[in-house]
């Protein structure tokens, strides 16, 4: 009797587990197939887009009429950005695939710059045609390699999930056709290193100037600590640790960490080896209830800058986040604001202490500039602006334009409806270099009950 009950209970249990297990298995499979399909889609789309890209570049080469060239180039640009986004959806991030992605970004940048240019006035130069031809050839090679991988994927039913597992388990011997295929693509692109892409390309190829304007001699570790203490305004009993930059850095710096034994406050900063300038500083501590206003915080930021001999700076922006004030300063020369030279500061609103300082941009680009005389008058520049805009303020400023060059502009701030805009008109040729819609505050979304 007892035995019979036991057998029934157990067998019900076994059958139940089996059913449950089978359902789980099916669900897991469904999810795996779903993920696999997403990968497959991204991959096949990528190969298709490279195909189209190759054809499109080919037809731009044959085009003579400029009126069809611009739309074709715009199309190339659109396809590259799609291809770029498809690459981003594949599990390749720990696989060296950068060169191919850079290649896509390069074509994109080139075609964008050329497409927005007025090709009637400023047609493609011979060099640019040549670089386009180079890109065409490169696209052909990538296309054929990818086609090859695609063929194998289709023929052998290869799965991207296996790529993921292979990369995750990091099995050196993992002989994965897809991984191999992509490595071949990457090698193909590498073979073309540094195609010369003409002047339209300054933007991407522009090398970081690596603090070329800094003055002063190399400092030692010891000096770095004393400089750090000065900037951090820390008490004498602070414990300092210093580390030198790794070999991969483009420039030399010391990382200094200052720990005060009494309070649990830690200040970290990086200081350039050359001259001992602070690149950034962060003091991490909890900020208590707000006691001082944003304006008081601004004054304490100004005092810090003055004390540390950062001169001729103008407050550009002030923003309060919770109990923190963040300020952006830009340098000023002959009453012209120089936006590339910017310093950011973070001030605690409980006692006005400087919690953050970031001068990377400033140190990289600040130097005495020869500011040209503006060719256009302010009134002439004003006529270049959309007449709907109500202009409230104006000044001269140097900004970086789309091609990463410094240009002298008239800056107009104005309103259109509820929004405020900042518009930069090139002071030499009246070009509208930049139009910015300034950020409005965002409503706090509460959970709707």
């Amino acid at each position: 009797m007892l035995k019979g009950i036991l057998i029934t209970v157990l067998s019900v249990g076994v059958i139940g587990t089996a059913v449950w297990g089978y359902q789980e298995h099916r669900e897991k499979n469904a999810i795996l197939i779903n993920a696999e399909n997403n990968y497959q889609r991204a991959f096949h789309e990528l190969t298709y887009e490279i195909d189209v890209l190759h054809d499109k570049i080919g037809s731009t080469l044959a085009m003579n009429s400029r009126s069809s060239l611009s739309p074709a180039l715009a199309d190339v640009w659109r396809i590259t950005s799609q291809a770029h986004s498809d690459v981003g959806q594949l599990p390749l991030s720990l696989l060296p695939f950068n060169k191919t992605e850079e290649f896509l970004a390069q074509i994109g940048e080139f075609s964008y710059q050329a497409a927005i240019r007025d090709l009637d006035k400023d047609p493609l130069t011979d060099e640019e045609y040549q670089s386009l031809q180079g890109l065409y050839k490169q696209a052909a090679d990538i296309q054929s390699e990818l086609r090859n991988v695609q063929h194998m994927v289709v023929k052998n039913d290869l799965r991207w999930m296996d790529v993921e597992t292979a990369l995750a388990t990091n099995n050196e011997a993992a002989d994965n056709t897809i991984i191999d295929g992509f490595q071949t693509v990457e090698k193909t692109v590498e073979g073309y290193d540094e195609t010369d892409l003409g002047p339209a390309f300054v933007n991407m190829q522009k090398k970081d100037e690596n603090y070329q304007y800094l003055e002063g001699k190399e400092i030692s570790k010891k000096e770095a600590v004393s400089e750090a203490k000065k900037y951090a305004q820390s008490p004498d009993d602070v414990k300092a640790t210093v580390a030198e930059n790794g070999e991969g850095s483009d420039y030399g710096f010391f990382s200094v960490s200052l720990k005060s034994p009494k309070q649990s406050v830690e200040t970290n900063l990086d200081i350039t080896k050359k001259g001992g300038y602070p690149i950034w500083l962060i003091t991490a501590r909890e900020v208590k209830q707000q006691k001082i206003s944003l304006e008081d915080a601004h004054q304490s930021a100004v005092k810090f800058l003055k004390d540390n001999e950062f001169e001729d700076l103008d407050l550009f922006e002030s923003v309060q986040y919770d109990q923190m004030g963040v300020f952006t300063f830009v340098s000023k020369q002959d009453d012209v604001r120089i936006y590339p030279d910017s310093i950011k500061m973070k001030v605690a609103l409980d006692n006005g202490q400087i919690l953050g300082f970031s001068a990377e941009d400033y140190l990289k680009s600040h130097h005495k500039r020869d500011i040209p005389q503006a060719k256009l008058s302010k009134e002439e520049a004003r006529t270049k602006i959309n007449s709907q805009l109500k202009i409230m303020d104006d000044r001269l400023a140097i900004i970086l334009n789309d091609s990463n060059e410094e240009v002298l502009c008239y800056e107009f701030t104005g309103t259109l409806g509820e929004d405020t805009y900042r518009i930069y008109i090139n002071s030499e040729n009246g070009r509208e270099e930049k139009v910015e819609k300034l950020q409005n505050a965002e409503p706090i979304y509460e959970d709707v009950v």
């Binding site: 990968y39 959806q89 993921e164 950034w280 919770d322 509820e418 965002e442 706090i444």
Partner: protein, 281 residues
């Protein structure tokens, strides 16, 4: 001689008192505002009062949300222009005094409306009943301090760094918390900075979301730790990184040498080590 000295002294004291009386009176009339100068970018009750008073006079037509944004800035400058004050866009004592004497501020009414989450106005010469539509609250109910870590008084909006929304910051904070919650603060800022450096770089996706959700890019995304609720520190680290702090030294990758599985990551040029993470190009 002594008498003369005495006389001057008395006169001086009298003079001091005489100047002090009107000043004290001015102080009193402005006591609704705190005595701090209000500048663009500020948030809190002072800003609410400023916006309400400017709206009372018809200079400000935007939402009374407690954030000193561009709309408030231009309204204040117009006010300063019309009333012959220095046009500096700062609400200092003279501007505040002028505002207080020229307008009424129904604090009770404004605070109530804000607490109920109503949309409302505060124009002078209009019946209060007509300034708020009956019972439309609920869309963004603001019950006191429940708003996510905001200490900006009763503000119903928040400042966000240009180009980012509060939700973007939240997702990034999720990623930073999932990846680096045990790390020192600068380590967290550095991880956020790496995400932003990747957005800038040509060899990575061009959006924050593309970078974060790129398959196999971040372990916290792969194993679901990204969906843990982040703390305030992670959020603050993200805001710092967006505002331009980059402790990583322009790094594009980082890894934990104890747990890194890919041998390839060791071939990247290393920049520095923060906490457990090595940051590299």
């Amino acid at each position: 001689m002594k008498q003369l000295l005495m006389f001057t002294k008395v006169m001086l004291i009298l003079l001091l008192i005489a100047t002090a009386i009107p000043m004290a009176e001015l102080d009193k009339s402005a006591n609704a505002f705190s005595n701090q100068v209000i500048r663009q970018g500020a948030i809190g009750d002072d800003v609410i009062e400023l916006q309400a008073r400017l709206q009372y006079l018809g200079f400000y037509n935007g939402k009374i949300d407690g954030v000193f944004g561009w709309g408030t800035y231009w309204a204040l400058r117009n006010f300063q222009y019309e009333f012959g004050l220095d046009i500096d866009g700062l609400a200092g004592s003279s501007t505040k005094n002028k505002l207080v004497s020229a307008s009424n501020y129904d604090k009770q009414y404004v605070q109530n409306q804000i607490n109920q989450g109503n949309s409302f106005t505060h124009y002078g010469g209009t019946d209060l009943n007509q300034q708020a539509p009956a019972n439309n609250g609920g869309s963004n109910q603001n019950d006191g301090n429940a708003s996510s870590g905001n200490s900006g008084g009763g503000a119903t909006s928040a400042n966000v760094p240009s180009g980012f929304s509060e939700n973007d910051i939240q997702i990034m904070a999720n990623a930073v918390y999932g990846e680096a919650r045990g790390e020192p603060y600068i380590g967290q800022v550095a991880v956020a900075a790496v995400i932003l450096n990747r957005v800038e770089s040509a060899s990575f996706p061009d959006t924050v979301y593309g970078v974060i959700f790129e398959p196999r890019a971040f372990t916290a995304v792969a194993d679901g730790q990204i969906w843990l609720t982040p703390n305030e520190t992670a959020r603050e680290a993200v805001i710092d990184a967006i505002n331009g702090w980059d402790p990583s030294g322009d790094a594009l990758y980082y890894f934990n040498p104890d747990t890194a599985t890919s041998p390839w990551i060791w071939t990247r040029p290393q920049i520095k080590k923060i906490g457990q993470h090595i940051f590299c190009k």
